[in-house]
Subunit: 320 residues, 2 copies
C-alpha cells in the first residue's frame, strides 16, 4: 500500500487513476479499477448524453468504490455535466479548455475538481478554477495532449501550483513509471494506454491487439484523425495515435485533407466499421513498448502498485 | 551517497554524469564535476583537434577524479579519438552514428565505452558495439537528440539492453529528476542544460542569462541552426534550442534557408559574434523551467545528489 495525498483524498489503496479515455473508459473498467483500489474515471469525452447515461448506470451498479468522470471541456454541454453530477461522482476531471465556468457547479455538488494541465497556461487556469488536484500530462500520453514531456513537466507543475497536489500522466505504464512519478513530486499516476489493453476497456479486439504489437516509435502526434472525424480541436492540442497509411498520406497535408473531406470521411467511416486500422485510428501513448498483454484491469492495478512499492523499497537501499 | 552500478564502475560519490556538450563542457567543468564526485565528460563535439587537445590538457591538470570525453560519432575522425585515448580518459561516449567501428580502439585503450541511444535502433547498435553503459536520451534534452521522451524511453531501453546498465538523459535538472531516473531502472543521470548554467561551463554570459530566464515552453526541436551553421546532420536528429526570431523565420522553410545560405550564414555569424540571441542559438532542454541560477558546478552536483537522497528516503515512507 502506497499512501499519498491522492490516496488519502479518495480512500484509495493505490495511487493509480484510470485516465478518462473517451469511448474506452466505460463504466465497467472504471468500476474494475475502483474495486481494485484505484480511482476509476469514466471517459465522458465530447459529452454524448446517451453514452454517458449508460456508463454512469454501469459504474454505479458495479462498484461502491471511488469513481468519477472526465470531460473534454471545450465540447462539454452543461446538461451532460448536470446529468453526471446527479449520479454523485466522487470526482470530475476537466481537460482541454477553460475549467473556470464549470468549477462552481462541480464543487457545489460535493465533487472533487481535477483539472488537466499540459503546460503553464492550463496550470494557471486550474488554479484559478480552484482545482483540488491537477493532472500534469506529458506529450507521451495516448490520445489528446500537448507538447511538453512528463519528466520535466511534472516537477515544474508541482512548483507552479503548490500546494495543490499533482498527478502525473503521460508514458506511465508500469510500477517503474509510478514510482518515478512519486519521485518527481506527484501524488500518483493517471494511466491510459496500459488500461486500454485490458479486458474491461471498451474498444475493438483488433485495436487492443494492435496496441500489444506496437512500439513506442510507431506512435506520433497528429491532427488528421480529428479533421477526418469532424472534430474542431483548439490549436495547441493534437492526438497521439499509431501511425498508419492514413497518417502517412495526410500528415503535413492537413489542408488538402480538409478539402477532400467528403470522400475521405466516407472512406474513414467504412474503415472504422471494418476494423481496418491502416486507415482508422488507434490511440496509443509512447509507453506502449511496455504493453505486451491484455489482462484484467484489477491485475494491472495490483501489479503496477506492487512493482512501485518494490521500487520505492529498493530505492532507499541505494542511499548509504 | 547513492550507490549504483554507475558509481561502482567509476568510484563516484554521486550517480551524476556531466553531458558532453560540444563547446560547452570543456576541461574546467569536467574537472569540477569529477572533483565533486560525478563523472565529468568533455564535449568533444564534432572533433575539432585543437579544441580537444586544449581541453584535455585542462582536465588532466585540474582533477585526479574520473573524467572522459564524448564525440558526435558521424563527425569524429580517428586521429582525434586517438589523441583523446592517448590521454587515458576513463570513458569515451559516442552519440549519433554507428559506434561499432570505434568500439575496439576504445576498449583496447582500457576505456569504458558509453553509447547514447534515442530509440531501439541505437540501443541495438550500442549492444552490438559491446557498450559498457548505454545512455537513454529523451527528446527533452537540449541540443541534439531524437523524438522519444525520457520517462517511457528509459525503462524500455533498460529492458532492451539488459543486463547492460543504463543512464537516463533528457529533462533531468534536479534531485527529483535523478531520483525518478533511478526508479525507472537507470543507474544514474546524464545532465546537460543544468550544467550549462554554471560558472565553469564555456559559453557566453548572455547565453547563460538566457537559460536562466527561459521557460521549457520556449524550447523546440529544430534543424535550422544546423543548416545555417553548415552541419549535415543525419535525418533522425534535431537540436532543442530556445526559439527566437531566427527559428520563427525559418522553421518549416528549411529548403528556403538552404537556398539563402550565403546571405543567412553571414548574418548568422555576425549575430553570434555580437551575442544576438534573437538570431544565434542557445541550446536548452525542456527542464530549463527549473534552472533559475548560475552556480558553481560543485554546488549543483551536491544539491542534486542531496535532493535525490532525500526523495529516495521519503519515497519509502509512503509504503505502508
Amino acid at each position: 500500500m502506497i499512501v499519498t495525498k491522492l490516496t488519502e483524498a479518495f480512500g484509495l489503496r493505490h495511487p493509480i487513476v484510470l485516465a478518462p479515455m473517451g469511448g474506452v473508459a466505460g463504466g465497467r473498467i472504471a468500476a474494475a479499477v475502483a474495486n481494485a483500489g484505484g480511482l476509476g474515471l469514466i471517459g465522458g469525452g465530447y459529452g454524448d448524453r446517451e453514452w454517458v447515461a449508460r456508463e454512469l448506470a454501469i459504474v454505479k451498479d458495479a462498484t461502491r468504490g471511488p469513481w468519477g468522470i472526465g470531460f473534454i471541456t471545450w465540447s462539454m454541454r452543461r446538461e451532460v455535466l448536470d446529468l453526471a453530477l446527479a449520479q454523485r461522482p466522487r470526482a470530475v476531471m476537466l481537460s482541454f479548455g477553460d475549467p473556470r465556468p464549470h468549477a462552481r457547479a462541480i464543487k457545489d455538488a460535493g465533487c472533487t475538481l481535477i483539472c488537466q494541465a499540459q503546460g503553464e497556461e492550463e496550470a494557471r487556469l486550474a488554479q484559478e478554477a480552484g482545482a483540488d488536484l491537477v493532472v500534469a500530462q506529458g506529450t507521451e500520453g495516448g490520445g489528446h495532449g500537448g507538447s511538453r514531456s512528463t519528466l520535466p513537466l511534472v516537477p515544474a507543475v508541482v512548483d507552479w501550483v503548490a500546494p495543490t497536489p499533482v498527478i502525473a500522466a503521460g508514458g506511465i505504464v508500469d510500477g517503474r513509471g509510478l514510482a518515478a512519478a512519486l519521485m518527481l513530486g506527484a501524488e500518483g499516476a493517471l494511466i491510459g494506454t496500459r488500461f486500454c489493453a485490458s479486458d474491461e476497456a471498451l474498444g475493438r479486439e483488433r485495436q487492443k491487439a494492435r496496441l500489444v504489437a506496437a512500439r513506442g516509435s510507431d506512435t506520433a502526434r497528429t491532427r488528421v484523425f480529428d479533421i477526418v472525424r469532424g472534430y474542431d480541436w483548439p490549436a495547441p492540442y493534437t492526438g497521439r495515435a499509431l501511425r498508419n497509411r492514413f497518417t502517412a498520406q495526410w500528415n503535413g497535408r492537413e489542408h488538402a485533407l480538409a478539402e477532400a473531406l467528403d470522400v475521405e470521411q466516407a472512406r474513414y467511416r467504412t474503415a472504422a466499421d471494418e476494423d481496418d486500422y491502416e486507415t482508422a485510428l488507434v490511440w496509443a501513448g509512447e509507453g506502449v513498448d511496455l504493453v505486451r498483454s491484455i489482462e484484467p484491469a484489477a491485475t494491472l492495478v495490483a501489479r503496477i502498485a506492487a512493482e512501485a512499492e518494490a521500487r520505492l523499497r529498493e530505492g532507499v537501499r541505494h542511499v548509504r
